[in-house]
């Protein structure tokens, strides 16, 4: 039985306990307030959810299955069950959120979507729904990432989106996010900013969670139906934290279900090169809300590192900060080497090539399953497929995979 928290948060000011809020230039305050009103209206409108459900079913391909990964661990262990977000259209949970936000945007009369992207997954997911709904899409992406993720850049072009390389700061995701905020500030009237995780100013952490919570709702029902009981543990990787909140939310009020967020330790928690905001960061304000941030003693945000682009972010959603401080969820970290080992192991033993992000969750789940023993039941959010990562891994392995 774990510490209880309030699953009805955020409060009216966008707070989860002391985390969250709205820390943005005044020019965006009204846009966020508008978005909050539109969100509340939409969420209260059955027609909105009906359209959402149709798209999730026919376009995204939901429900995603749960799958017993039988060959992952040897010796006595708890069954490990994957929630298969990798089977979604575009290959990850990201699309659940972009579909929802694009519908909100259309409802608000905005014809243009903007998004930040790191590795390109959220950019592709935004470009995807933009193409489907006939909306203009502009994606902001750090120059460094444009260079190393040429495939996703081309994919976004194929989908009709325009990719804008961002040359400021570290020229990666953090700066792309800054730039998207700036672009939004410049064109708030006709532009909807589609944020890719449970980060940013209120109402983003809330609405992204609401769009992603379908993962946990489905998984909870599927576990009860298949196993006649809830999992003992739920494990998910945490970058910004959207897939994790997506699967955690449905279990937050189940006191006996332990929630585990797995961050990217990169080269290690003690190293400079890490991306584990909750494990190695401190409380700060980044991209519009208060949460844990990887920063120096002057409040300057640090460069991060993870082999997995989707976890390579110095912040984390405020609801995770709240769950951490309350003890309701525990946050651990897995380094590059262990994540890569889990990537290979899952491919070889299950015939599933996981996203490097998800491989962090799997690596931790393997240990946990052994620790729990046969009485346990470990649910892992397989947030995405690893096709996008094959070249990265091949390069690390010194293999050719053009």
């Amino acid at each position: 039985m774990t510490n209880m928290v309030d699953s009805k948060l955020p409060d009216a000011r966008g707070y989860f306990g002391r985390f969250g809020g709205v820390f943005v230039p005044e020019v965006l305050v009204e846009a966020l307030a508008q978005l909050e009103r539109a969100t509340n209206e939409a969420f209260a409108d059955p027609a909105f959810w009906a359209e959402m459900e149709t798209l999730l079913r026919d376009y995204v391909g939901r429900p995603s299955p749960i799958y017993h990964a039988e060959r992952l661990v040897e010796g006595p262990h708890a069954p490990i069950v994957f929630k298969r977000e990798d089977t979604n259209h575009t290959g990850a949970h990201k699309i659940n959120n972009t579909v929802g936000q694009a519908l909100l945007a259309r409802r608000m009369g905005k014809r243009r979507l903007i998004a930040e992207t790191g590795a390109g997954q959220h950019g592709v997911a935004t470009a995807t729904i933009g193409a489907k709904l006939g909306m203009q899409v502009d994606v902001y992406m750090g120059e460094v990432d444009v260079e190393r993720q040429a495939l996703n850049v081309y994919l976004m072009k194929l989908l009709g989106a325009t990719v804008h390389p961002v040359g400021s700061g570290t020229r990666t995701l953090k700066d792309a996010t800054n730039e998207a905020f700036r672009e939004w500030a410049a064109r708030v009237e006709d532009t909807f900013y589609v944020i890719g995780s449970v980060v940013g100013a209120h109402p983003y952490p809330y609405l992204v969670r609401e769009f992603q919570k379908v993962i946990g709702l489905e998984a909870r029902a599927q576990m009860l139906e298949r196993y006649g009981r809830l999992p003992t543990d739920v494990v998910a990787c945490v970058g910004g934290g959207s897939n994790a909140m997506g699967i955690f939310h449905a279990f937050v009020d189940d006191p006996d279900v332990r929630l585990w967020g797995v961050e990217a330790a990169g080269h290690g928690l003690q190293a400079v090169d890490t991306a584990a905001s909750l494990n190695a960061g401190s409380v700060g304000v980044l991209h519009g809300s208060r949460s844990y941030v990887l920063q120096d003693d002057e409040g300057q945000v640090l460069d991060t590192h993870s082999v997995s682009a989707g976890l390579d972010y110095p912040g984390v959603g405020p609801e995770h900060a709240y769950l951490k401080d309350s003890g309701r969820a525990q946050y651990v970290a897995i380094d590059d080497a262990d994540a890569l080992a889990a990537f290979h192991h899952t491919a070889r033993r299950e015939g599933i090539v996981p996203a490097l992000e998800s491989a962090h969750a799997i690596a931790f789940a393997q240990r946990l399953a052994t620790e729990r023993g046969p009485g346990g039941l470990v649910l892992v959010n397989l947030s995405g497929r690893g096709d996008k990562d094959v070249r990265t891994v091949a390069a690390l392995d010194g293999e050719d995979a053009r």
Binding site: P25, V27, N178, R182, A185, E189, S282, V285, G299, V301
Partner: protein, 270 residues
């Protein structure tokens, strides 16, 4: 503590001269401490009424490319919070125009809001603008600064609804900062003078504070047009552009010349 004279002193001279005040933004430590000090001296000599001193931050959400790059140059040069405060203190000691800090919440938060308030006040500054602390977060953030005697000018944007603008004006101190157009700081896009004029007219009834207008002001013509309706004209990116790439005396000379061209455009109100 260096006497700041507070905000009354800032607007006394322009008021007496029946013209709009000129507020000039520079980043502390861009590209080095000596240059910043020289530039501040030159701006003072050029008749600038208030120096907005940017404390460099790596993720400046409210700033465009010019100021973001200037902040990065300052950070790359090793400028830390204490350095920025020391620059302000030294400038004041050398008789510079009043100084107002401009930075973001995170560096202040991390430094400690109380500590920042104390040291900022001690440096002789008149206040601080923190653009990512909106009205709603002010109660949690503002008191220590106010207690130290620092003003916190708040911003009103074209997107701010009138009722909210009035509340912001009421909560503001020092002056009210009207953002002259959508977007972030930067000289590349024009200010919306007509919108500024009508907002000013509306806000006069809500506050007795001076109304300053900034964002996108880069030419004497902009300054003249905005200065005709506002109590203060704020210039930032265009000034930084004017001396970017140079240092020391040369930078000071370029900054001074540029400031003079704007200052000259601020004619007494009709």
């Amino acid at each position: 503590m260096i006497a700041s004279g507070g905000f009354d002193a800032v607007f006394a001279r322009p008021r007496a001269e029946r013209r709009a005040a000129l507020i000039a933004y520079v980043v502390a430590g861009d590209p080095d401490r000596a240059t910043t000090l020289a530039v501040i001296d030159a701006l003072t000599a050029a008749g600038v009424d208030l120096i907005e001193l940017g404390i460099p931050y790596g993720d400046p959400l409210a700033d465009g490319p010019t100021i973001a790059a200037a902040a990065q140059r300052a950070l790359d040069g090793g400028t830390r919070m204490a350095d920025a405060i020391a620059i302000a203190a030294e400038a004041r000691e050398r008789g510079a125009a009043p100084i107002l800090y401009f930075t973001y919440l995170n560096p202040i938060d991390r430094y400690g809001v109380e500590r920042f308030a104390r040291e900022a006040a001690a440096s002789g500054a008149v206040g601080a603008i923190v653009p990512d602390v909106p009205l709603e977060e002010l109660p949690a953030f503002g008191p220590p600064l106010r207690a130290a005697g620092l003003a916190i000018p708040l911003l009103i944007a074209p997107t701010t609804p009138p009722e909210r603008a009035a509340r912001i004006a009421a909560a503001s101190s020092g002056f009210v900062y009207l953002v002259s157009r959508l977007g972030v700081t930067g000289a590349r896009r024009e200010p919306d003078v007509a919108w500024a004029a009508s907002s000013i007219a509306r806000l006069r009834s809500a506050t007795t504070l001076p109304l300053a207008v900034g964002f996108g002001i880069s030419t004497p013509a902009h300054a003249a047009a905005v200065g005709a309706v506002a109590d203060a004209v704020i210039v930032g990116s265009a000034l930084i552009d004017a001396y970017a790439g140079s240092r020391g005396a040369q930078a000071a000379q370029l900054a001074g010349a540029y400031a003079r061209s704007l200052r000259g455009a601020l004619r007494p109100h009709g």
